[in-house]
């Protein structure tokens, strides 16, 4: 699964991980092959053996025996490095389910790793938030304030479907509504107030 940050990839990962009792590791920029393997074994609660190939075997054995999937988040950090080959090794040795989550450019970077790329079963792009998603989020998070569709649509357009920024804006709308005693907010009520897009405000004056 790939997509820009803030689209809810990690939340989706959390849900999937809980449903299937998956192992989950989040990659870091500085990781070597060894750091990567040790992190996975730590997540599994297994004492690492000495050599890299033994560690790969340990991971693979546990994956195939337990039939639990392995979710690797922020995979873009290791995909350009030797650690990517470790993923191929683990997959080959276990035939287990690996779920790779990364940023938008991951499919392109992975195309260079032919061995790994052609083993991908399915590419899933993270979806932009739809008006339905935003409406759902608003009514679940803030049931006490009724936010009108036109306002929600405006918010969603401004942040280009980034759910994390939608959440920030809903929070602001809610606080503003409480402060002013509104029970219902639409685009007119909101008026000239800004919508947070992550851009620093333009200099005025």
């Amino acid at each position: 699964m790939y997509g820009p940050s803030g689209y809810g990839k990690s939340l989706a990962a959390a849900y999937a991980a809980n449903l299937h009792r998956a192992y989950y590791v989040e990659c870091r920029e500085s990781w070597t092959k060894k750091a990567f393997l040790v992190a996975i074994l730590r997540e599994m609660g297994i004492i690492p053996m000495k050599t890299l190939s033994e560690m790969v075997d340990q991971v693979a054995e546990q994956l195939s025996r337990s039939a639990r999937p392995l979710i690797v988040d922020d995979v873009q950090y290791v995909i350009d490095k030797a650690a990517a080959n470790v993923l191929t090794d683990i997959y080959n040795a276990s035939q287990g389910t690996l779920i790779l989550i990364g940023e938008e450019r991951v499919p392109t970077s992975m195309a260079r790793l032919e061995r790994l790329h052609n083993r991908v079963l399915e590419w899933v792009p993270a979806q932009k938030a739809s008006l339905n998603d935003v409406r759902e989020l608003a009514s679940r998070s803030y049931p006490d304030v009724d936010m009108d569709d036109d306002l929600l649509q405006a918010v969603n357009d401004r942040v280009r479907g980034c759910l994390r920024r939608v959440a920030v804006n809903l929070y602001r709308i809610h606080s503003e509504a409480l402060a002013n005693g509104w029970e219902r907010v639409d685009l007119d009520t909101w008026g000239e107030r800004t919508i947070h897009t992550g851009q620093p405000p333009a200099r005025r004056g």
Partner: protein, 211 residues
Amino acid sequence: MAKTTTRKPVHLEAQGPKGDRQSMWEIMRKLHKGGEPITVRDVWMLGAEWAPKGRVRDYMAGLVAAGYLRPIEGAPGPSVQYELVKDCGLDAPRVRKDGTEVTQGRGREQMWRTIKIIGEFTSQDLARAASTPDFPVAEKTANEYCVMLAGAGYLQTVRAGRPGRFARYRLITSRWTGPRAPMIQRLKQVFDPNTGEVVYTRHGRDGGGDA
């Protein structure tokens, strides 16, 4: 590149102290790997001598009922010999004597896993993200878990709560001790099964109730 040649068997050993199920299970896997039959007596002597033998017998009965173990037919000797027919890896299956799965603690397991994944969160966020259709997590449970984990120093309080506003927490990465979720014990203390230590006891709220 001969990929299919027999690999040297790897050894999977759990970190930290083991509960009795875990140590019995590891002995069974070890016997199985060594090509030896599994008997109640061996498992008890090698892996659970501190426990009453009945506990070993019950656990193994549960494993048979759940299809992990099978008695070897026609084996010589006075005691029943078993073989491991379903090896699910390192983690000991949590089964009762009748073979049904023990699901107590699944909510807690889900919260612990989710905390690592979602970054900054309120207890409300945590309850939502950690819930699955089969094992929903109540906001109240999530809140108590957060408070206790923060007290034990696993979570950092990013923004303190106040009436009408939830506190926000974040996992202190270096304090992630392992995959097994810390438990809240009845004495209002936090026990970490990864290290086998009681890491936090809540004081100062004698008499129960909300302060």
